[in-house]
């Protein structure tokens, strides 16, 4: 280490072992100054552990960390901050009731004799915000601003601390396509100024678009580092998953049968404003087809699903499921004929403190199969959970008795899919079923939905991912400001046209009109 190394941060031969598993097995990651370096890996590949090591949350059994060629010891996050390492977490670390400015300066306040010097801070933040085009409203409270703006606040937090190594942990999972583009531009700008960026993701498109180099991890092992210029999506996905991955959905044309779900003039009130979140929507879904509700996040998709599934009460119109009017039925009664893969898997999908087997029977614990005279048949639950785990390849530390909270996001989602698909109902409602998941899991979930369709299920899919919408659906309905504004055939449209509908610039269904 005679002279300064070309790498700002090097993690060399890092091994971190947890009981029964090597989360990181001899992993080397070298970050050059001024580059955008993507860290690619499936859920559970060891990305987060590696970052925790970098932040001093774990001490590795073997290996060392170097900054500019010098070996450094990072014992806690404060050491990491002192070395100029900053991170935008996947789940933002903001205080909802504080203003944007307060959040940015929190922990790095300028004070004079114990008094906050907010003016100086404000000047600095405003300057940063202008320079990088990161528009934020400094006086708004975090709870009132959009997710995109919250992310910009997180980025400004790093900049405010003069961090030069910026880590983005799955930053695009919560963003709209436009916001993703903006973020990419910002990242390029940072790199151009000599900041180094570590970009954790499993979205291949984004890597190809913005990264200079990619390091791939798989099951705790280091697979390799490649230049994005010398590789393609297929090679990257092979490196990540360890086998050939079907990036495109394979499916035959749909042969829709009977009508399963029908909505007529359906409206759901909003929790946020006085208008209806879903306004006078009519459509139907038939057996054997995948109908996708597409639109930019927050245009009423969530409320629409909540209205259909009973989580929210509608204030107009009717829902007919399998010929029965279920508009005012209880959630349990509706569950008789529908499965629901919920948007928020932590809030609705799982009881995180329950074990996997307990979660597997969340709706079914009253079935005679699982209870006798009010007593749960533990053995039946166990063997049922074991079958689902086996059949749907849900991976967890201790099988049926794993606490759901300790499972990886992808496997949590797989568990929900297993539970919902196995309930075998005529209608499956899947809301953003692949959000935040890796290529392997996405491939699996898409295949599941297609095979359920082919078995004659009606599938109502809500997705924000344009690619998913285009490849998976048989019919696309576009929602804009609570109304259906377009019905499209994915084979006869393209992303650009879809985008126009999503932005409200185009419309092929009249006011209050219906699509069937």
């Amino acid at each position: 280490m005679e002279n300064a190394s070309e790498y700002v941060i090097e993690m060399l031969h890092i091994t971190k072992e947890f009981p029964g598993i090597k989360a990181n097995d001899d992993i080397t990651l070298q970050l050059k100054k001024g580059e955008i370096h993507a860290l690619l890996g499936e859920n559970g590949a060891g990305k987060s552990t590696l970052m925790s090591v970098l932040f001093g949350l774990y001490q590795p059994e073997q290996g060392e960390i170097r900054k500019n060629g010098q070996v450094v010891r990072i014992n806690d996050p404060n050491d990491a901050t002192a070395l100029g390492i900053g991170m935008v977490h996947q789940h933002f670390q903001l205080i909802d009731v504080f203003t944007v400015l307060d959040n940015i300066v929190l922990g790095a306040e300028t004070t004079r004799m114990g008094f906050l010097q907010k003016k100086e801070a404000r000047r600095k933040v405003e300057e940063l915000s202008r320079r990088y085009g990161l528009a934020v409203d400094l006086d708004a409270r975090v709870e009132d601003i959009t997710v995109g703006m919250q992310q910009r606040v997180e980025i400004l937090k790093m900049l405010y601390r003069d961090n030069e190594i910026l880590i983005f942990d799955e930053p695009t999972a919560v963003l709209t396509p436009q916001e993703i583009n903006e973020l990419m531009n910002t990242m390029r700008e940072f790199a151009g100024e000599g900041k180094s960026i570590l970009f954790i993701t499993h979205k291949l498109n984004e890597i190809m678009a913005v990264a200079d180099r990619v390091s791939v991890l798989r099951k705790g092992r280091y697979i390799g580092t490649v230049n994005t210029a010398d590789t393609d999506k297929r090679q990257l996905s092979n490196m990540m998953v360890g086998r050939d991955v079907q990036l495109e959905v394979v499916k035959t044309p749909a042969s829709p049968g009977e009508e399963v779900l029908r909505l007529e003039h359906f409206s759901v009130p909003s929790h946020l404003h006085k208008r209806n979140a879903v306004n006078d929507v009519s459509f139907s879904v038939r057996a054997g087809e995948i109908v996708c509700i597409s639109g930019i996040d927050g245009n009423g998709q969530t409320e629409l699903v909540h209205g259909i599934t009973g989580l929210d009460r509608p204030n107009g119109g009717t829902v007919t499921l399998c010929g029965e009017n279920i508009t005012h039925d209880s959630i349990r009664r509706r569950g008789k004929n529908m499965s629901h893969i919920p948007e928020d898997r932590h809030k609705h999908g799982l009881v995180l403190d329950f074990t996997l087997e307990q979660n597997m029977v969340l709706q079914r614990y009253l079935d005679p199969e699982f209870q006798r005279a009010g007593f749960i048949r533990q053995d039946a639950v166990r063997s049922y959970a074991e079958r689902l785990i086996e059949q749907y390849d849900v991976r967890s530390g201790q099988g049926p008795v794993t606490v759901a909270r300790s499972m990886s996001g992808g496997n949590q989602q797989k568990a929900i899919i297993a539970r919902e698909v196995d309930r075998d109902k005529p209608l499956i409602i899947a809301v953003q079923p692949t959000r935040g998941l890796d290529v392997g899991a996405i491939e699996y979930i898409h295949a599941q939905l297609v095979s359920e369709r082919d078995r004659g299920k009606a599938v109502l899919l809500v997705s924000l991912e344009l690619e998913e919408v285009m490849s998976l659906s048989d019919r696309i309905l576009v929602m804009y400001e609570g109304e259906l504004v377009g019905e499209l055939d994915p084979r006869q449209t393209n992303v650009q046209e879809l985008g126009l509908y999503m932005a409200g610039a185009k419309r092929n269904i009249g006011e209050g009109g219906s699509a069937t």
Partner: protein
Amino acid sequence: MKGFFQKEGTVKLLSSLLSILTGLVVGGILVLIVGIFSKNISLSGAWEGVRLIFAGILSTGRDAAGALTWGFNPANVGNMLFRATPLIMTGLSVAVAFKTGLFNIGAPGQYLMGTLGSLMVALSIPAGTLPRGLIWLLAFLCGCLAGALWGAIPGLVKALLNINEVLACIMTNWIAANLVTWAFDVSNLKNVVENTKTGYIYKSSYGLVNGQYVADQGVSTAKLGLDRLFPGSQVNAGILIAVLAAVAVYILMNKTTLGYELKACGANRHAARYAGIRDKRNIVLSMAIAGVLSAAGASLYYLSGNTEFFWTTYQSLPGEGFNGIPVALLAMNNPIGVVFAGIFMAMLNIVGLQLTKLTAYNEFITDVIIAVIVYLSAFSLVIRMLLTRRRHREAPPAQAQAKPPEGAENAKGGDET
């Protein structure tokens, strides 16, 4: 061995035992300090106090030479079991609510309502009109019902208006305290001699047989031979009922579909609702069950036949209600653990009595010491946290690598604060 120490149950048990020990040690030190600085307690007297703190339950008095004697003291043990009964019940009450995500600080109110319900019924039914066992049963059930209603109120408020159950519980506690005083004040069920008490002790001692009041034929809890096992004590079948209740709660929470629902609502109300479970009903139900348990504790205590109830409760809430909280904490909300925690707390009570009886320590200092022990005992959660944190630092759970674990999230806050 490592596996054994990593089991959650072991950690729970270990932390409870450690906190009990800490509490006793600190209590012992306190006794020593008080003894050293007190004029009328000698050093040897202080040492006797320390010994009593640890083993007061086995004290049998003093011999002719004035030295403390030790051995099995049936009266002490019997009284301990008797006093444990209401503590176990309120402990169960708090534990059930905890398991379903609710903090039942309303146990004192439910306890009072249970007292009101059972004593009112027991006293209002004239002796001889019904078999005495039936009167007892009716009184007991009525007490439970009153508790269920009182528990359901905070539950309803929480379920329908989303008002924190702690607030509602505290308010209903004081409503109960005043209600009980009022109800007895306007009734004719007062003790004729001392009218701050109820007349129950008379009814429990004398029963109407062939038109004559006969001693030992009153409405009181059956002894089932326990009085022969522990002669000279107040013990009765109440302790057995409490143990049965603990087993029943354990089965309810762990083996039944109802317990599954209750726990699901407590752990994640949204997911429970998503699955079609009626979350509101379950919140009310779980508070009602908690109310029944507290009230049953009161009924068992006051229907025993050897306790008097002072109905002027408007100024203070019964300690048995609040003590359910440390009992539940100490037992880590495990129903079976609650039995042992309740007995331990009752033992402290007996130890306090022994200390007052046998040494120059007065009853107030023994109360302080008991309070210290209880307080430290409730630290079991803290100790458990320390135990698991040490374990986590050494070896986080195997699956944690997929997501930044909980601890990591918190620790990350470190770079901002």
